[in-house]
């Protein structure tokens, strides 16, 4: 009989559609976030935020050198991530890589829109400086921070990203390679040279001030 065959074919097609939509139990769903774990979309996003926000903030802070601007830009990054959360694909990039790529573009946009070169001004010093009368050591530390960031801003864009991602976000070479679209070995090679360049630049400032 043709009718049962047609009906079985239809059921099979429906089963395939269901499988394609859900994926195997406990696997990644179409939206990249796991299905079958019982977690809601909000819980999954909150988990991603808790895990990655400090790294994103540190990277941005490293690049812009101003805590309040770093906070604004960090908020921008996560709002962008929220808007495109459903399009995130885990198989393409880890959450850290995905968020850092958004952060990097956000920082680039910030510098482009504000039309400013990355010069660290006096008022970009950390906010803590204005809250309490700093002791001499603290003043010295803040000055050091400001000068280091100034030196960092003088490096090529790639080196700035490399140092910020490594020492700010604390990413490993593989993740940095994915964000900067270079090979992993290239990251390892360039890191030592970038840090030396920054150290040489900073040493010159230290020598001048002494």
């Amino acid at each position: 009989m043709i009718l049962p065959k047609l009906f079985r074919t239809y059921l099979w097609m429906m089963a395939q559609v269901k499988l394609a939509e859900d994926g195997p139990a406990g696997s990644e769903g179409a939206g990249g976030y796991p299905t079958g774990t019982g977690q809601s979309r909000q819980e999954l996003f909150a988990e991603m935020y808790d895990k990655n926000m400090p790294g994103v903030y540190r990277y941005i802070s490293y690049r812009v050198g101003n805590p309040s601007i770093a906070e604004d830009l960090t908020a921008d990054v996560f709002e962008k991530a929220l808007r495109s959360f459903d399009r995130y694909r885990k198989e393409k990039a880890s959450q850290a890589t995905w968020l850092t790529a958004i952060a990097r573009n956000t920082v680039i946009d910030y510098f482009r829109k504000s039309g400013r070169v990355q010069i660290i001004r006096e008022d970009d010093a950390p906010e803590e400086a204005s809250k309490e009368p700093p002791v001499e050591d603290e003043i010295a530390r803040l000055e050091e921070v400001r000068q280091l960031r100034l030196c960092l801003a003088g490096l090529p864009q790639f080196d700035q990203d490399l140092i910020s991602l490594k020492f700010g976000a604390g990413m490993n070479n593989r993740e940095i390679a994915r964000v900067l679209n270079v090979s992993e070995s290239n990251v390892g090679t360039r890191l030592y040279r970038a840090v030396r360049k920054l150290r040489d630049s900073f040493k010159g400032w230290e020598d001048d001030s002494q």
């Binding site: 047609l6 559609v17 394609a20 490293y62 906070e71 929220l82 280091l148 030592y192």
Partner: protein, 293 residues
Amino acid sequence: MTRNRDVERAFEQDVERLLRGEEPSGTSLDAQYEDTLQFARRLLSLRDEPNRQFADRLRGRLMVEMAQQDMDSVEREGSWFVRLFSKPSLRLAVVSGFVILAAVGLVWRAGYLSPMTEQMGGDLPSEVMDEGGSPAPTLEEAGPEMARIADEEAEEEAPMAPSAEMASPVQVGAHVVPSNSYGEEVQITLVFENAGPEGITLVPFPPAVTVRNVDSGEAVWTLPAGESSLMLSSMESTTYNVLWDQETDRGVQVPAGRYVVDIREVQAETENKAPVPAAGTLEIVVFEILPPK
């Protein structure tokens, strides 16, 4: 060159240790290396941790935005009907469902799914099976001559025949033992079924039954239509046995060979005396008369 690579690799590993909060390996390659590693420590100390209040405030705001986004999404998606077509997989499911239903409808209208076909093709009584257990041959197996005659007669009757829109509720089948000894009576079992939703009356009853020679197509014997009638309520069926003595209408024994039972124009009317489309056998049943021993 190799030394440079070694230095870069050692630096990479030491920085990873520093990031994990461990101490460097202690391998001192040279003063410059030590200096650079020391500088890396200073870079790490520059890291600003996010303010706790800021982190909590942003988290709360994002959660509210996400909840709002979900609500907007539900509103935007609108009715269940719109949602049904918004997902590609669901769209595929719905469209394929309609396509399959349409295919089933076409097959049904072509008559392949009628109950009579099942009864005749699938559940033939054992006595109408041949020795190999297969059902009696059909028109396609009966030979080109019969097929030609059937086609010609169908064409002749076309103006009178009901259209496909008016399929007859009367289903007619015929069962005959496939192989019959020469000179013995052949039992022809006719099955009539009312597949319609309301009761009908077959008038006249029994209908005319013709036996034809397959090879020549000639009608060798005809049982004239009866003068009575038979009522069949909805989905009711009945059988009627005809015995043929293997003689022609002129009373002569037919030669051995293949013959076919042909029933046409089974007339019927509804309980309100309204005529229903005429029906004929769904399959032309072929049987054989064996040569004399």
